[in-house]
């Protein structure tokens, strides 16, 4: 058993830098074996993207402006989805401040999704289908979820574990920037930054220090998310 150091995995999303290109969405699908849902199912409101770009229009035509906000599991420290699960399929890692999801324990009450104010949990309405050649590129580190199971962003927990193991083998402490979730790795304008907030020298800690633009989504609910957004321009999204 590995003795874990206390961490507070945190992501910073700079809305000024986000262009809404959705590269993060594709990267997440590839990394986490997120099922590709058919067009017909998407129309029925069953699209599955652990990270997705919510687009809001501001103003009236012709003076309109699109605003993007990438939304993923907020990894709340006081997550509303956790206590409602009757079988502990979703629960909190106190040491790492992660919101864990155990697919093979889930019985599919879908109570967590109802109590999730951000609606970033996704239910497998059917068994996933990976068309050729996508079935050849499934990530062996991540379970392929079956029908009737809830899933959501894990902060690429498999990458966190890999990095920890590598550091352990090499007999050193984990360094900032070693753990990079797929969305962060792929973001072309580097709008996403990931790291341990308890490490004062980390990039996220530096970014958030006295940052007037930082806010957390739906802060009034008291869920204490681990995702910090940096306001973009005159953006009023979520504030």
């Amino acid at each position: 058993m590995i003795a874990r150091t206390e961490r507070k995995w945190t992501m910073v999303v700079d809305l000024d830098k986000c262009t809404g290109c959705e590269a993060c969405v594709v990267a997440c699908h590839a990394e986490n074996n997120v099922p590709i849902v058919s067009q017909e199912q998407v129309v029925r409101g069953r699209a599955m993207h652990w990270i997705h770009i919510e687009r809001y229009w501001e103003g009236e035509y012709p003076n309109v402006r699109a605003r993007f906000i990438p939304l993923l599991c907020q990894q709340c420290q006081r997550a509303p989805c956790e206590p409602v699960c009757p079988v502990y399929a979703t629960l909190h890692s106190e040491q790492e401040n992660l919101n864990l999801q155990i697919y093979n324990r889930c019985v599919g009450t879908r109570y967590c999704q109802n109590n999730d104010p951000y609606k970033v949990r996704f239910f497998n309405f059917f068994d996933p289908v990976f068309d050729e050649p996508l079935n050849e590129q499934l990530n062996p580190d991540v379970t392929v979820r079956s029908a009737g199971v809830m899933e959501k962003c894990t902060f690429c927990v498999q990458r966190i574990r890999r990095a920890e193991e590598r550091a352990l083998v090499e007999g050193r402490a984990l360094q900032d920037g070693e753990v990079v979730p797929a969305c962060v790795e792929t973001c072309p304008p580097s709008a996403l930054v990931f790291g341990d907030l308890l490490d004062a020298s980390s990039a996220v800690a530096q970014l958030l220090q006295n940052n007037q633009r930082a806010f957390r989504l739906l802060g009034h609910l008291g869920t204490e998310p681990s995702i910090y957004y940096l306001k973009g321009g005159t953006s009023r999204v979520g504030a």
């Binding site: 199912q41 029925r44 409101g45 699209a47 497998n124 009737g148």
Partner: protein, 492 residues
């Protein structure tokens, strides 16, 4: 001969010692009217009751078998749909993100609500000594058991992986996994199992003397063996009656808080969340009042159907519908009071998300359903049930009760399926439309209750004979001057 009958109910002659018989004709008229109106004053000999009530149990006409086959098929279809859903996944229903709960959960809440009424009528009226309740308790208790059993299926039908349902039970296992009692679903599961167990036991307990009557008077063959077991060797001795009375009192008093708590917990399933429109401190009593409303109305429907089809005109009279109508009126006003509480506070607060939900109900897409709900649950009962003429008219009561049940079903549906479509982030709003599987399973659930009733009425007496006899023995007419006054003997 009656000594060996063993059911403890003597075939007394009601004419003996009745003061009305020796009175002048004016008073006799009064007595006749009173008997025509009140069951408990209209005493008949035991063989009469047996013939009236137990006779139809031994016969089944073609209509019965037709209904039996139709309802049975509906149940089988629903079962098939359930298996199909387990095979393919919940995706065959209309559920989506964000509406993760819809018709199944609305059914669950609705049927549990129906199940509350039996206890209300049986236990509460028993404790408060409403004598007129005597003939209607059995139907109410039975409805409780059947509705609860049906509602208990819905959390299972709704599960994504039904076959793993036992993971929610606290059973010892090698990996020391335990269900999470943080979750309101576990409180719910515990409450339902407690209530189901206690209401089955309660219904059985108060049926024991009647089971003995059936055993001794009509049952042959396998029925006799069944009744022999279920009657627990009841012989009708003084000691047995006294034990039955004590046990019934204890059970009645104990089951009332269980009923109130159980349905409050169903309300808390919603109230414990942070979903706007659900998070409400008034949901406990609000849900209980709604449950009693729909349940009382359902009992009225069951009574009216049983009266017509089993020819129970002697037992079920206008006075019973009158009494139930009064309750329905009070419950309708109680429901409206709690609903007003639940709406007023968010409306006054004017939080954006609450405002959206209120607008959706009052002027948006859900406005037709919402208006029908308010009409059926409040406007119609409150406008009509003040009148004794309406309350004593059985067709009118049935129509009102059907409306109340439609209204209460819509209320559950609006709370579960429509409210969930609105949340804090407008990007994630959605709408739900029921698909064929949910509709078939819902029809199957109603059919299941009807089917169980069909089986029940051929095996067990739907009217509690001993309670009617007991009420009749306690009740009598007494002359005061030129007037005849119904009086009651109540030894305790």
């Amino acid at each position: 001969m009656s000594v060996h009958r063993g059911d403890g109910l003597a075939d007394g002659n009601p004419a003996d010692g009745n003061p009305a018989d020796q009175a002048p004709s004016e008073v006799t008229d009064q007595a006749r009217q009173a008997r025509a109106r009140y069951l408990l004053l209209d005493e008949r000999p035991m063989p009469d009751l047996v013939a009236q009530l137990l006779g139809p149990m031994q016969r089944a006409g073609p209509l019965y078998w037709l209904l039996f086959a139709v309802l049975g098929c509906m149940v089988l279809v629903a079962g098939g749909v359930w298996i199909y859903q387990m095979w393919w996944g919940i995706g065959i229903t209309g559920l989506n993100r964000p509406v993760m709960w819809a018709v199944y959960i609305a059914n669950f809440v609705y049927f549990i609500g129906i199940g509350v009424a039996g206890t209300f009528i049986s236990a509460v009226l028993r404790v408060l000594r409403f004598q007129w309740r005597a003939p209607i308790t059995r139907a109410a208790e039975t409805l409780t058991v059947f509705a609860l059993a049906t509602s208990g299926l819905f959390p299972l039908i709704h599960l994504g992986r039904t076959w793993k349902f036992y993971w929610m039970l606290p059973y010892p296992n090698q990996r020391r996994l335990w269900p999470s009692y943080h979750s309101a679903l576990l409180w719910d599961l515990t409450a339902i199992l407690t209530y189901l167990t206690s209401s089955v036991l309660f219904a059985w307990l108060v049926m024991i003397p009647d089971l003995a009557t059936v055993r001794d008077r009509i049952a042959r063959g396998w029925r006799h063996r069944l009744m022999n077991v279920l009657a627990l060797g009841w012989r009708g001795t003084e000691g047995e009656w006294s034990h039955l009375k004590t046990a019934t009192t204890i059970f009645s008093l104990a089951i009332i808080p269980v009923m109130i708590l159980m349905h409050s917990i169903v309300g808390w399933d919603f109230a414990m969340t942070i979903q706007a429109g659900w998070q409400s401190t008034v949901f406990g009593p609000y849900f209980v009042s709604g449950a009693l409303l729909s349940g009382a109305a359902a009992v009225i429907i069951v009574l009216a159907v049983a009266r017509k089809t089993l020819h129970l005109e002697y037992f079920l009279r206008a006075e019973h519908f009158d009494g139930m109508g009064r309750f329905l009126l009070v419950l309708s006003l109680a429901w409206a009071y709690f609903y007003f509480n639940d709406v007023l506070v968010p409306w006054y607060g004017q939080l954006p998300v609450d405002k959206t939900i209120l607008q959706l109900f009052t002027s948006g897409r859900a406005a037709p359903l919402w208006s029908l709900m308010v009409f059926s649950n409040l406007v119609l009962p409150a406008a009509t049930l003040w009148s004794r003429r309406v309350r004593t008219s059985i067709p009118a009561m049935v129509v009102i009760s059907i409306f109340v049940n439609i209204g209460m079903y819509l209320e559950r549906y609006l709370i579960v399926a429509v409210t969930l479509g609105r949340n804090e982030l407008p990007f994630d709003w959605g709408a739900y439309v029921p698909h064929l599987p949910e509709i078939l399973i819902t029809v199957g659930a109603f059919s299941l209750i009807g089917f169980l009733f069909l089986v029940f009425v051929k095996l067990f007496p739907i009217i509690p004979i001993w309670e009617v006899r007991e009420g009749q023995m306690k009740q009598g007419l007494r002359r005061i001057g030129r007037d005849l006054v119904p009086t009651r003997v109540d030894p305790d």
